[in-house]
Amino acid sequence: MHPVIDVRGAVKRYGQGESSIFALDGVDLSIEAGEYVAIMGPSGSGKSTLMNIMGALDVMTSGKYFLDGIEISSMDENALSVVRGRKIGFIFQSFNLIPRTTALANVELPMAYQGIKSAERKMRALKALEVVGLSDRVNHEPTELSGGQQQRVAVARALATRPALLLADEPTGALDSKSTSDLLDLFDQINAAGRTVVVITHEMEVAQRAKRIIRMRDGKIISDSLNAELVK
């Protein structure tokens, strides 16, 4: 079995010459199927940059990236859109739901782009909304939902396509503590069902749920270890 994520020598440079910054400065990372990984580190250490590359939202300056054994770093934009739709569920700090569009339609959208038939799409979307506990909010638009509820719609949207990989960039950053713990319970549940989960966070509380914690600084991984709590 190959790892779900296999990043080798990832470099991401912004700008030219003197003033250029290395957001990623040679990162190697391998994540096996079914893992639950937290990425921590100070602001500006390159966490989001790494996550965006793993999510195929961004490209690196140099290095290689294999997702599920397939090389992503050499794909063109069209092929990448397929990968984003089928293999990856991405959750943002700012939810990123389509405005003035119902929860149901938001969850259906990635499946629509995959060409899944309307009836099946709706069924799967309703199921995903049920999993995140929003069966009574399917026809609400983002502005009619709380932050926690919006983030759960985003999780449902990420799950409905049954991706191998769930990536979340500071998913609890905009949530209160109750919504945070609800969301973390949801992640536990998703991981328990066999899905790979990678979460970026500042908060120890969030990282403690993961089984493996990676720390970054200045574009490099400085530590990579199993969760101390669990090791105990």
């Binding site: 965006n52 939202l57 490209v59 984003r84 739709g85 739901l97 003035r100 569009t101």
Partner: protein
Amino acid sequence: MNFFEILRFALRGLTINRLRTFLTTLGIMIGVSSVIILTAVGNGSSKAVQSSLDRLGTNSIQVRSGSGGFGLRARAVSNNTKPLTVADAVALVDSVQAPDIKSAAPVMNANATCVNGTSTSTPSTFSGTWPSYFEASNTSIAKGVYFSNDDVTQGRRVAVIGNTTATELFGTDNPIGQTVRCGGIPFTIIGTTAVKGSSGFLDGDSLFLAPITAVQNSLTGYQPLSTIIVEAKSAKTTDAAQSEIQTILDARHKVKSSTSRDYRLFNQATLLATSSSSSQVFTVLLAAVAGISLLVGGIGITNIMLVTVIERTREIGIRKAIGAPKRAILSQFLIEATILSLVGGALGVLGGFVGSHFTIVGVKPVIMPSSIFLAFGVSVLIGLFFGGYPASRAASLRPIEALRYE
């Protein structure tokens, strides 16, 4: 992802941004319909001028007072200008000196309001003349009779009126035999003319014709004539007739050289040439105004489209992040732009047709088919290009770039 799915997204996009949809459609509509209406007005006015000249007949020549020039020179000459007189008209009917002239009729225009009980009418053409005027000006009688040479000699207050004047004064009653007072003077109606139709700014049926003697005696006095209408024997002899007029009038008015004539001749050909060139200028001017309005409309569309795409770049980023291919996003925006510009363009064409049914500043607009295609085509192209171009740029961004866009 099939076409109907994308079409649904596009329709949703349009219904979500109702105000934008409405304003864009309105902009295109106004641009397109103003192009169609304005060019139709220009076209209509030149058509009207043409048909009024056609009606004048090809054999007739008008003699008017005044020199050919404008400005200072015209004023200098006007000091020794001899007025056109009835005697001039009489002199032109001369089978020896002027074998190519069939008839000549002096015309004395007046301004008078006619009253019949409570009805009033101010004919746009109120002329005293001779019976030969009717043939020279292609005016025929529908009901009743022409006035006769005897009526002219006796100065009888009889009149032949046009349709518009008849309706204004008598409604549906038969005007023949009735008496109206024009400028306080009673005239008995003896005939009505066949319908001429309106010619541009002038209603050809707002007409009142009476013996010149009656008009001079009672209304105008013995002022210079307005015009003399001369009829050549045939269309072929118009040029010969014209030089005969010049020979006779030059002698009578003591004109020394052809550049110092104190009268001007107009025949149908010269009138057609000057008026069609001036109405062409008019049409071009209107088309320019219309073009500017289309341009302004186009800038409006462009602006709204650009703002929309920029506003929705983040949304494009979200869509791409969850797996939307570039083609799907591009199609969505192109379909939105197409629907907007097609609907706006179609409404504009409709508006153009409706607007062209009304008489505008006295002109009955005549739609030019080319203006429809031009206006519609330009608006659709503007919509497609300025909707498509920024959308294509946004759709080509990497998702993370589009998402970062604020």
